[in-house]
């Protein structure tokens, strides 16, 4: 089982911040930042789209932004004292979009070069988020960013849990039980699940309980990768919950 406290010292964002603090550009920091970007590119793209750019332009701008990011400019902005990857990334995107020079450079070079393996990023983490559409249209860009971020966190956690099950030959079990991860126990038909999976109800209850606990560990680890202090995990989760709630 994962020991979060021990692992936290080497989470991706803390690695990036430690290198920013010492003004070094170590390979480890670049790798950590690259991995974070690969997971959290969708909120950036969503925010740029919501800022009024066409899909094509938003793709180009997202490309350019990540090129800038991965070249190290973000590290100079990172403040370990108040470091959350989400908030820094959002600020960086907003600054990037207000810098007309970025737009001009993109237009000058035609906006056709691809430095980021965009299709690979999409293929490895497809998103099938569905949203209450009517209210969606009135959300400001920063809320779009936060909601997309929240969705990315849970989708990433579910993906990791599915991979763990698949690697043990238990993807069918995950597929059958994961839809009950947040369902009230009184609303679950353990008898039906017992029949469909061919194991006693007691086993279903035990596995589902452990699946929930394992999901929780993975989710918290996923959030921990984006904050600088272990104490920030709960706050970050609460922030994202609030972002979803305030958008009702």
């Amino acid at each position: 089982m994962l020991n979060l406290n021990r692992r936290f010292q080497t989470t991706r964002w803390s690695v990036v911040l430690s290198c920013a603090q010492t003004a070094e550009t170590e390979d480890a920091a670049q790798r950590a930042l690259s991995e974070l970007c690969r997971v959290y590119w969708r909120p950036v793209f969503a925010l740029i789209c919501r800022r009024g750019h066409s899909v094509t332009d938003a793709q180009d701008l997202t490309q350019d932004f990540f090129v800038m990011l991965l070249k190290g400019n973000l590290l100079s902005l990172a403040d370990p004292a108040r470091g959350r990857f989400r908030s820094l990334l959002r600020t960086a995107v907003e600054n990037f979009l207000t810098d007309k020079q970025n737009l001009a450079r993109r237009q000058k070079r035609g906006g056709t070069l691809q430095f980021v393996a965009w299709d690979d990023w999409m293929a490895e983490a497809p998103s099938q988020l569905s949203i209450y559409g009517q209210e969606l249209k009135s959300w400001p860009p920063e809320r779009i960013f936060d909601v997309r971020w929240a969705a990315t966190v849970v989708e990433q956690a579910l993906r990791r849990l599915a991979e763990e099950c698949e690697n043990r030959g238990r993807l069918r079990m995950f597929t059958a039980l994961s839809k009950y991860l947040t369902v009230e126990r009184t609303e679950i038909s353990y008898a039906n699940l017992s029949v469909s999976l061919g194991v006693p109800e007691t086993v279903i209850k035990r596995v589902l309980h452990q699946l929930r606990l394992r999901y929780r560990v993975i989710l918290r680890d996923e959030v921990a990768q984006t904050v600088a202090n272990p104490a920030d995990v709960d706050d970050e989760i609460r922030y994202l919950c609030a972002a979803l709630a305030s958008a009702r």
Binding site: V153, V154, R172, G198, V199, V207, Q210, C241
Partner: protein, 92 residues
């Protein structure tokens, strides 16, 4: 790049984003592919009950719910690459 992904970059399935989905009883509006509420999934991370956590690998090995031989996984068609009389090749 999928040109249909244009609903503010929120989802690969803009037709789903554009439709009203059922709200969760918590009042939230966003759901992932399995239908689970994003807000409920997040809040479950705040649950502090860590009693009785078993070793997950051990549990998976012991519980007799194996995948079937024909199990394909949770794939979906990503892009059609080639179409011919004999069929369609696609990335999934």
């Amino acid at each position: 790049m999928n040109e249909e992904m244009n609903f503010w970059g929120l989802t690969d399935l803009p037709e789903r984003a554009a439709q009203d989905c059922d709200r969760c009883r918590c009042g939230s509006f966003a759901r992932v592919a399995s239908g689970l509420c994003v807000s409920c999934l997040l809040r479950s991370g705040l649950d502090s009950n860590e009693a009785n956590i078993e070793d997950f690998d051990t549990l998976l090995a012991v519980v007799d719910i194996p995948d079937r031989d024909w199990q394909l996984g949770s794939y979906r068609i990503w892009k059609k690459s080639v179409a011919a009389d004999c069929g369609v090749e696609a990335s999934a």
